[in-house]
């Protein structure tokens, strides 16, 4: 108990002492992405699996990148996917797209085209009817960036 308090005090001191300045911007945006995902999941744990996120690992043109997200689900009234969201790490905004599905979808597969400003990590998150969240993250290399700047 005493140790935990000491650690907390040390961290507070560290933050006050300007340790935050050492955090690189990439890590800051990764943190922003994690908080955007946590916000989508309303704080519920997000597990890895059940979901496949198809995107070319080497993107030649960031202006239109085809993505396909498929979720392993029977899509019945009792067990189906209610939502799929995609998050990025280094575009100006963390959100990419949020789909809302229902049991009438028949098949939990969605596809669209997105923009990527630079090489980064992308995360797809699926929300299931039983309240669980599943994710799959992919690292992509972008050779020609979408004109965002």
């Amino acid at each position: 108990m005493k140790l935990a308090l000491q650690r907390r005090e040390l961290l507070q001191l560290g933050a006050a002492g300007g340790l935050a300045l050492l955090v690189r911007p990439a890590q800051a945006t990764a943190f922003e992405m994690q908080s955007a995902i946590a916000n989508y999941a309303s704080g519920a744990p997000v597990k890895t699996g059940k979901l496949r996120f198809d995107i070319p690992p080497l993107v030649e043109n960031g202006n239109g990148v085809p993505v396909t997200i498929s979720v392993d689900s029977p899509m019945t009234a009792a067990e189906h996917v209610t939502g799929i969201a995609v998050f990025n790490e280094r575009n100006p905004q963390r959100d990419v797209v949020r789909f809302t599905l229902g049991p009438r979808a028949g098949k939990a597969v969605v596809a669209t085209r997105i923009r990527l400003a630079t090489s980064q990590q992308l995360v797809a998150v699926a929300r299931l009817s039983d309240g669980t969240f599943w994710s799959h993250s992919v690292d992509v290399l972008v050779t020609l960036a979408a004109c965002l700047e």
Binding site: Q93, V97, F99, T100, A105, G106, A111, T112
Partner: protein, 106 residues
């Protein structure tokens, strides 16, 4: 009126899972890009897409700036009854467009 391209089967068997694809001509201006004069171009996005099957919402999507120009969405639905599929796009500056296609279920 923006041009749209919707791909859906004209007929389907009852219970069959059909693929629907929708594309609309739209610049999807992000609001982060400067124009020729150095000032930021105003944001002009489609923010919502929805598909209704005989009036029931079967699919919807919230689109953000990271969706490519001429937004394209592909998804699936179960053919239940003959009727109409309506695809709606809503966006900035009061943009709203709805297109309908007929589906015959045998």
């Amino acid at each position: 009126m923006a041009r749209t391209l919707i791909t859906s089967p004209a007929t389907a068997k009852r219970g069959e899972v059909i693929e629907l694809r929708a594309l609309i001509a739209h610049p999807m201006e992000t609001g982060f890009r400067p124009g020729a004069d150095g000032l930021l171009l105003p944001r002009n996005l489609i923010t919502r897409f929805s598909c209704r099957y005989n009036g029931d919402l079967v699919f919807s999507a919230d689109l953000f700036a990271a969706v490519a120009a001429n937004p394209y969405v592909s998804f699936f639905t179960v053919a239940t009854d003959s009727g109409t599929l309506s695809f709606s796009w809503e966006g900035d500056h009061g943009f709203a467009q709805t297109e309908t296609v007929a589906l015959a279920v045998t």
